[in-house]
Point group: C3
Chain length 307, copies 3
């Protein structure tokens, strides 16, 4: 039995297979409408996250399966002092697979050790959020037709943004990837990622502060939200958050075949005037997220691909 | 693609068709058990409302469809500062239709502008609650056999009660309707409804303070809850709320073919001793609400009526 | 129409039939995958209880049915002052059966008086929790092959633990049952159970304080959580809660064919080192709970057993 705890749990070949399956699902949804008939997913959200939870639920429903779970810790047994280990053993009696969101880093990993069903990490604190990374890879591959030979701009909060860190790690396994790391000095990519991933693997990258200057060379621009909750004081947050706002004028500097991604929710870091630009891909990304989760659920449940 | 934002969005002819469909569903539920197989409704309740939410969910399940969503804003992305426009674009990737309850007036309308799926307004602040109005019309038509030539008493909080305002507007499109508006002076129907609807259309009405005196002439008595949250001070609330309590004695003054409706929840404005009176229709009304929502979902999804 | 409000609502013969059905479901789950197609259960949890709620939901989904409801009172109409009587009349329009958890003793009973669908008491305050008792009986019968001629140890909080009281009452209807009541003096079984059940029926029992000494003679050890919320002061709680912790050393004193049960959640009254002991049956118990709830739903809905 396999779990998905870390974005790197799957090899490049396995990710290729997963994305192939997701693309086939996109092309032929009706073919997959009953492959999980009689199966159940438990969505265990100790921390609310509507988008992620509903994406998993939509994915399972699209496959013919059913859903149970909880949307926040208040209504769970956690408040009675139950351990994650016990909870997952109980949930194993109720469902065939589960997606767990937890404020504590490592909680889904602990769960996986005591589970008799596949556990999907749906976000554990500031740590990992592997299905977001799979979504990002699917979006890039679908729109650009490839996951290699790309210049990828990452913009905003590169220090605390876990989706950015995971995407760097994930894309670093492909050839010909160049990163442009666009952030204020305070929010640069942490040293351990620069050292252990980029330098260790000889990945080409540059760190810049100016979004305008970076625009023309990008194949992908990955925008991130500057999250208030990651900051220690309000002043720093206010000073930073509006620095890197993508608007129509900046979009004019970009290539016609560049695409803008964002893990959402967006606050104001992308101006709404950009939404109708054909290069704005952040809502398509949500749709790709459903397909990739459908493929993931099938893969972990070892459901045969229908012919 | 159509939405339902305002009770008057449908013409009288369209409402006739909708109620015909709802009546056929009531008569032949099994025929409709699979017409929405593979479809999903998202119930987006930024403000809790168990009855309305579960009515939509029951309606979709009765049609063979499935349900996802949230029951309160705490567990939604709203708390992360996401706009309704963004949320609905995301939800459009997860579901085929949605029902939105929101404390802010106009939120479902904003959502409809950015949605690629039909949006049903399931109540927006003190503004509109169109499926309640459809439920009321279905109840009256089912019990009385017609929507014209009726003397309709509206009793209680006629100032703040949005269901009352909507019902006045909806019934004013039929012929031979007479309203008896029964309330304390402080809670009278607002002037703009008197002027713009009743006087403008030449609808017969009278405003009275005494429920007893009004009883004998009514075909329908529509009771409403005097909602504490609509009042500015506690004293006014306490003085008012018990003034218009319907009990067995008052029911003796009414015709045998009069029916009592109430949008629920009821607190004490209808004495429980009335519940077993065959003219008490407020629980039947809940059942009609499910049928009319089934018809509405089918209509907005453009699902063919099965033969 | 029948409800399940009290563990003794079913006769011994009816419980036998129910457990036979549950065992057949365990052996042939596929046979039952569609017996409740088109049926809906409402889970009305005025007080959160993830395990119990999800167990009911899993049970209904396993039978092909569907689920709606609420997980806590915040998102229900209770906050608007609606009575349980009114709520159940409304819910009767939405679902075919319901499971109600309520902090007030007797609430499910009141509901049953106004309901037109079967009501299952899923726990009412410190009062009753009949599906837990059915789960316990199913677990014992499945593991030991019988419900008579057993020495049953009950350990921990025997004063406030409603599951213990219900289990005593339920097992007292079988022959050859001996109870060993293991608790500190402050948390002994209440006098009315000693008098009205044990003494009145001539059931053999002894009250002891030492868990070690009791171990060798037991066929079943039923452990309970010492719940903080049942205590009036913190000191008493802390002094008591660690007194009766089951660990590996104590397990060495027990028979090879003894089984440990626990209604869960477990805090620390069973050491995790016991979890891998083949006699640890508290997680299997959760699985049995799903089967017995499937059998219960079928029985109350009068669904034919498939051949």
């Amino acid at each position: 039995m396999r779990h998905l705890l870390n974005p790197l749990d799957f090899s490049v070949e396995e990710i290729d297979q997963l994305l192939d399956l997701a693309s086939d699902i996109e092309a032929n949804p009706a073919k997959y409408a009953h492959v999980c008939d009689g199966k159940k997913i438990a969505t265990l959200f100790y921390e609310p996250s509507t988008r992620t939870r509903l994406s998993f639920e939509a994915a399972m429903l699209n496959l013919g399966g059913r859903v149970l779970g909880f949307a926040s810790a208040d209504s769970s047994s956690a408040s009675k002092g139950e351990s994650v280990a016990d909870t997952i053993r109980v949930i194993s009696c109720f469902a065939d697979i589960c997606a767990m969101r937890h404020p504590k880093e490592g909680a889904p990993m602990v769960a996986s050790l005591h589970s008799s069903i596949p556990v999907i990490n749906a976000g554990d604190g500031g740590h990992q959020h592997p299905t977001q990374t799979l979504t990002d890879l699917m979006t890039i591959r679908s729109l650009k037709g490839r996951l290699n030979n790309l210049t990828v701009g990452l913009c905003g909060d590169l220090k605390f943004g876990r989706t950015v860190h995971s995407l760097i790690n994930a894309l670093s396994r492909y050839t010909g990837i160049r990163f442009v790391l666009i952030s204020p000095p305070e929010l640069r990519v942490p040293d351990y990622i620069i050292e252990d991933t980029l330098n260790a693997k000889g990945i080409e990258y540059k760190e810049v502060e100016n979004l305008d200057e970076a625009m023309p060379e990008l194949d992908i621009l990955y925008m991130t939200r500057v999250q208030r909750e990651r900051f220690f004081n309000e002043e720093d947050y206010i000073r930073m958050k509006d620095c890197y706002i993508l608007d129509k004028k900046k979009m004019e500097l970009a290539r016609d075949d560049m695409f803008v991604l964002h893990p959402l929710p967006r606050v104001n870091e992308i101006s709404v005037e950009v939404d109708n630009d054909p290069r704005a891909a952040y809502f398509k990304q949500v749709q790709y997220g459903v397909y990739v989760r459908m493929a993931l659920i099938m893969t972990l449940l070892e459901v045969e691909k229908p012919c």
